[in-house]
């Protein structure tokens, strides 16, 4: 078994190499046979990597503890689902998982374009295979998942494995890594198309149209991955933190920020033929940040709670990044004449300008996060002192940037292309601006004096009302013209231009998330050691311990407390926080009890059992935090809407600059 797996990986490595050579040579020498064989090689790689993955998963499920990987990440008593998710629970497995996703994406990309884009495709195949080759190199020679235990040490098997890290035995954590990886790897495809289009000097934006869905899907997966990680931290760590600016969290955020900038900036190219160089730079940045994120997680270069033990793997990633980035920079510089902008910037108050500043802020935040994350490495290189920057540093920078972006979210879509008149500014922003100010003033009078919270909530109100008014005005127009009811008109409106209205929904999701983040300014907490029958209070809640239980199952032992909760003296709910002790990993883990409310969450952590019915509990009140998760759902929904094809196919008229076309436009105006 293990030999078949290892052999499959080795073959996949060779076949990938073949795919690169065949596609490149076939294209340069114009040999269609070679090109086709290169594409078939991509399918073959998928079959081989799938075989290897299948064998690893099979041994995880059946508990074949001769495998070092299985012994280290699985045991007999885990739920089957966690035996499966152990595939990506450790270093070797997760890198194999990366490879597998990439091979799947590559096969799909090659298959869906098998009769299209014949100019670009050989290069797309070659580039994707090159990335694949790199990961297979790691799979084969650096972190091989088919390493057997103790070959020469008289030990060929162990009775039971260590089990998956208990913190990973949790639903959000089980699907968080695959989501992130699907996002990380997904950006390889648009990147390959962009580079293919550069190499072959394609005029036009074919690569953008072809990969628009790829980019959005990758971005969606990444968003889900980040938010699942956040939700996991909130639910599982026992003190309600959902973002700590930990290096590994930052690693997932970096490509997301660059990808978000890319998704916005391609619109400038599609509609106005502007920012062509910039888009190339952005997609390359996004892709390399994805690789960099994997590198950061896997190499332990910056110490982090997540990072795995230091390993030699980092060197390979640095090498790959160096080669990839140099090649990309060379290509872009060499092809600059093909990337000329077709129209100039006209006014500071215009759609173009709002896109420009959106990109500036996203990239600035990306750079800030990168700087902060790598500061220990940078400072060590400069001053020989390893210095890290803490969460307050990130917050001081990222809160203003975030609010700036939120502001642009509101104004950007309502600015006209080219320039915006004072009249339209007044018409579009009078009411939302007023509503935002009224809300902020009202909250101030109500006793909320936190500066950032007031700004944030005021802006949220402003942006939310601009979005609602967009939907309202559009729907009203359709409802009147087509004589249909308002709700149907809203559907019709969205369906006519899914991209635009889906985008608005995504913006709405972001607004709701900001509402949730702002709630953090008002958190409350209490720690109490309480005995049976005693109570303690946090915020408006009184919690009374009515029962203390304990129990045992093959995977873990547990203690729990039953709490009767009353709010403002009235009976409210019952909570049962629990503490588990996982046997094979010899590790304790809190299992918090949570009451989700739209206004605030009540959150109780079982910190320790003191014996004789005495327990230490921690109670927290987190205002508005649910809106983060609601916002995430709205964001997902909006993204899915944007993926639905529009009912009306739009041809975006471009401002033509050359000769006759320009006269025509002038006459029409």
């Amino acid at each position: 078994m293990e030999n078949i797996g290892a052999l499959a990986l080795l073959l996949a490595f060779c076949v990938s190499l073949y795919a690169i050579v065949a596609s490149a040579v076939g294209k340069i020498k114009n040999r269609p046979f070679l090109i086709v064989s290169g594409e078939r090689a991509v399918y073959a790689v998928w079959v081989l990597v799938t075989t290897a993955s299948g064998i690893l998963v099979y041994s995880l499920l059946t508990g074949d503890f001769r495998f070092a990987y299985v012994a280290g990440h699985s045991n007999r008593d885990m739920d089957t689902i966690y035996k499966f998710t152990a595939w990506w629970g450790g270093q070797e497995g997760s890198l194999l998982f990366w490879s597998w996703i990439l091979s799947t994406y590559a096969a799909v990309a090659v298959f869906t374009n098998r009769n299209k884009l014949r100019q670009i495709m050989p290069w797309v195949t070659a580039i994707l295979s090159f990335v694949q080759l790199f990961f297979l190199l790691i799979n084969n020679f650096v972190a091989n998942p088919f390493q057997m235990l103790a070959v020469d040490k008289l030990v060929t098997s162990v009775a039971d494995g260590l089990g998956l890290n208990p913190q990973l035995q949790y639903y959000a954590m089980a699907i968080h890594p695959p989501m992130l990886y699907l996002g990380y790897v997904g950006f390889a495809v648009p990147f390959a198309f962009a580079m293919g289009s550069l190499i072959t000097r394609q005029p036009g934006d074919t690569w953008i149209h072809t990969t628009r869905r790829w980019s959005i899907v990758a971005w969606l997966f990444q968003s889900c991955g980040i938010m699942l990680g956040s939700a996991w931290a909130f639910d599982a760590l026992g003190w309600g933190g959902y973002w700590m600016w930990d290096p590994v969290e930052n690693a997932s955020l970096l490509p997301w920020l660059a990808g978000t900038a890319f998704l916005h900036s391609v619109m400038m190219q599609e509609k106005k033929g502007m920012m062509k160089v910039w888009n190339m730079v952005l997609i390359a940045t996004t892709f390399f940040l994805c690789i960099f994120g994997t590198f950061l997680t896997r190499s332990g270069i910056v110490s982090s709670v997540h990072a795995f033990a230091e390993s030699s793997i980092g060197r390979y990633f640095v090498g790959f990044l160096a080669i990839g980035i140099s090649a990309t920079v060379y290509l872009i510089l060499d092809r600059l004449p093909y990337l000329k902008s077709e129209s100039p910037l006209e006014s500071v108050v215009s759609r173009e300008s709002s896109f420009l500043f959106n990109n500036l802020l996203l990239l600035a935040s990306c750079f800030a996060v990168l700087w902060g994350t790598l500061f220990p490495v940078i400072s060590e290189a400069i001053s020989n002192e390893k210095i890290s920057l803490d969460a307050p540093w990130f917050n001081r920078l990222m809160i203003p940037i975030g609010l700036g972006l939120l502001f642009l979210t509101g104004v950007g879509p309502l600015f006209a292309w080219r320039r915006t008149s004072i009249e339209s500014l007044r018409r579009n922003f009078m009411l939302p601006g007023l509503l935002g100010c009224v809300l902020a003033a009202g909250l101030f009078i109500a006793g909320i004096h936190n500066f950032w919270a007031l700004i944030s909530l005021g802006l949220c109100m402003f942006v939310a009302s601009t979005i609602v008014s967009e939907f309202f005005r559009g729907s009203l127009a359709i409802a009147q013209k087509q004589k249909m009811n308002f709700v149907r008109a809203t559907f019709e409106l969205t369906h006519r231009n899914t991209r635009r209205y889906g985008g608005y929904l995504v913006h709405m999701g972001i607004v709701l998330m900001f509402v949730g983040w702002t709630g953090q300014a008002f958190n409350k907490n209490t720690t109490a050691e309480v005995a049976m029958g005693k109570s303690f209070s946090v915020g408006a809640y009184d919690l009374k311990v009515t029962d203390v239980n304990s129990g045992d199952n093959p995977n873990y032992k547990w203690d729990s407390a039953v709490l009767e909760v009353s709010k403002h003296g009235k009976p409210f709910t019952t909570l049962e926080p629990e503490r588990r002790y996982y046997k094979s990993a010899q590790q304790g883990l809190g299992h918090v009890a949570l009451y989700n409310g739209l206004d605030e969450d009540l959150y109780v952590n079982f910190a320790a059992s003191e014996g004789e019915g005495k327990v230490t509990l921690q109670g927290y009140v987190f205002p508005l935090v649910s809106w983060i998760w609601i916002g995430t759902l709205v964001l997902i929904f909006g993204t899915l809407v944007a993926l639905v094809p529009s009912k009306v196919q739009r041809q975006y008229a471009r401002t033509q600059i050359v000769g006759v076309a320009e006269n025509k436009v002038a006459i029409e105006n």
Binding site: R66, A68, A71, G72, Q91, N144, Q147, M148, L149, A150, V151, D152, L154, V155, T156, S157, V158, A159, D160, G161, L162, P166, Q167, L237, G238, W239, S303, V305, F308, L345, E346, V348, S353, F357, L360, L361, A364, A368, W371, P376, E385, K386, I387, S388, L389, D390, P392, W393, R396, L397, P400, I401, T527, A585, Q586, Q587, G588, G590, N605, A607
Partner: protein
């Protein structure tokens, strides 16, 4: 004003503000990484800096008092006594033999006062290729074949 000058001015304002935010008062949020050995040899100088120190939690050294948890960090032969008085509960991974990172300041008494602890399980989850991870019960080859 020329439109490009306007753009340049706006961009300069944004970037300038961000640089100011990033540099102003960053000393308060800087934490110096030190090893246990370096801390031991560091007498009197730069003690006011926030420090992050890493090491293994010495077996049996964890003492829980009312609001404080005390333990010893070990790095080879060097040791450091740490008192944790932070607000957040200690991570579940924090236990004897775990690798821990403590953030705080070195007190005049030589005890390190930490307000934040991060811990990860030691080598248990990462073993060198070919070796059974620590804690695994190995079955000799002769029995395993049964």
């Amino acid at each position: 004003m020329n439109k490009y000058a306007k753009f340049a001015a706006l961009i300069a304002v944004v970037v300038g503000t961000l640089i100011w935010l990033a540099t102003a008062g960053s000393t308060q949020s800087e934490t110096y990484y030190k090893t246990v050995k370096e801390l031991n040899s560091m007498s009197g100088k730069s003690k006011t800096n926030k420090i992050r120190v890493g090491g293994d939690v010495a077996a049996g050294s964890i003492v829980r008092k009312a609001d404080i948890v005390e333990f010893t960090l070990q790095q080879e032969t060097a040791t450091l006594r740490v008192a944790y008085d932070g607000r957040d509960p200690l991570p579940d991974t924090f236990k004897d033999g775990a690798q821990a990172l403590a953030d705080g300041r070195l007190g005049p008494d030589g005890v390190f006062h930490a307000n934040k602890i991060q811990a990860k399980c030691s080598s248990k989850y990462q073993s060198k290729p070919g070796e059974a991870p620590a804690g695994l019960k190995a079955v000799p080859a002769s029995k395993a074949s049964i």
